[in-house]
Symmetry: C2
Subunit: 190 residues, 2 copies
C-alpha cells in the first residue's frame, strides 16, 4: 500500500487514518462534502485551495474509497464528488474537531453554526446526540443552521459561502441550481 505520505512503522490505527485524511486540505474538503458541496469548482472557490492540490486530494480520496467520483447525469463535463459510506463514517471525527475549534476559538457572539436534529430542531451535544430526544443522530438527519457567530456573507461571496449561511441538511446537495450568473468570481471568504 503505497500511500502518498505514510507514517512508517506505526502500529496504530490513528496513523492509518492520518495517511488517508491527514494531509493538508483533506479534512476541509471532507467537511465541505458533508455540507453538500459536490463539484470541483465549488470546492476550489470555497476553499481557495490550489487546483492541482484539489485534484490530487479528490483522486486520493476516491482511490481510498472515501469519496466517489461520478459524472453528473445530463450535464456533460460536470463531475460530482460524493462521500461513500466509508467517508460518512468520518463524521464523528469531523464533528469532534469542529466542536473543539468552536469551543476554544469561538467567534464573537457565539457559535458559527449550530447542528440540530432535523426531526425536532433541538441542538446537538458536542458528541452528536440530540438534546431534545437524547438519540444519537445520524448524519443525514443533521440540520445545520447559522449561529450568532457566523459573519454574514458579503455580496460577492462565492455561492457555497452564501448557501452555507442558510439552513441546510448535511449530505444534501448544497447548490441545486444549474445555471449561475456569469460573473468572474473572485476572492474566497467562507
Amino acid at each position: 500500500m503505497t500511500l502518498p505520505r505514510d507514517y512508517r512503522g506505526q502500529t496504530c490505527a490513528l496513523a492509518r487514518s492520518m495517511e488517508i485524511v491527514g494531509e493538508r486540505w483533506t479534512l476541509l474538503i471532507l467537511r465541505d462534502a458533508f455540507h453538500g458541496v459536490r463539484r470541483f469548482g465549488e470546492f476550489a472557490a470555497h476553499l481557495a485551495v490550489p487546483r492541482a492540490v484539489l485534484t490530487d486530494r479528490l483522486t486520493t480520496l476516491a482511490e481510498a474509497g472515501v469519496m466517489e467520483r461520478r459524472a453528473e447525469p445530463g450535464t456533460g463535463r460536470r463531475e460530482v464528488y460524493g462521500l461513500t459510506p466509508k467517508g460518512v463514517a468520518l463524521w464523528p471525527a469531523v464533528r469532534a474537531l469542529t466542536a473543539w475549534g468552536e469551543e476554544f476559538y469561538a467567534a464573537e457572539g457565539g457559535p458559527r453554526r449550530v447542528f440540530r436534529h432535523a426531526a425536532d430542531e433541538a441542538p446537538l451535544t458536542p458528541d452528536g446526540r440530540c438534546t431534545g430526544c437524547g438519540d444519537a443522530v445520524p448524519v443525514s438527519d443533521v440540520l445545520v443552521t447559522p449561529g450568532p457567530g457566523l459573519a454574514p456573507p458579503g455580496p460577492d461571496a462565492d455561492p457555497v459561502t452564501a448557501a452555507l449561511a442558510r439552513p441546510h441538511r448535511l449530505l444534501r446537495p448544497l447548490i441545486t441550481t444549474t445555471a449561475s450568473p456569469r460573473r468572474p468570481t473572485r476572492g474566497p471568504q467562507s
Copy 2:
C-alpha cells in the same frame, strides 16, 4: 500572531482546529501524549519524526496552550511535555479518528488496542461510552489494553513501543523509571 500554515478566509471552526492540530505529525504526537509519553526523546524514538520537526510541533502546541512544557523536577535537563485541559479536550477527535482507522484498516485478528473503562474493564463504544455501565468515560479513566491485532514488539523495540503493548491508563506517565540509568549490568533487571 501568524499561524504556521493557516487556512485563510475560512469562517469555519474546523479550519481553526486544523491550523493548530492539522500539521503533519501533530495528531500522532498528541496521541502519544494521551498514552503518557512525556519526553522529547521518547516522542522522537517512537514516532521516527525528524527532531527539528518535533521541536517545532511541541513549541507550536505549547504556544497554542495544547501542551505544556516544564522541567522535570530533580533531573537536570529533562523537559517533560504534558497535555493541558485544552489538549485533553481533543480526546474525542483522537478517539474518533483512531476508531475510523481501526474500523476500515483493521489488523489481522482484530483491533490493535482496546479502550476500556478502568472501573469495570468493560470495553468502550467507538464514541467513548462504557458498554458495561453506559457512562461517558473521562479520559483519565480509560484503560488501554493490547488487542489481538497488536503485533508483539520486537526485542529491539523502543521503550515506548514496549510500554504501549502493556495495559496502561491514559494520561498516566507511560515510562516512570528513568530506565535505571547506568546499572553495572550485574544481575537481570525487571
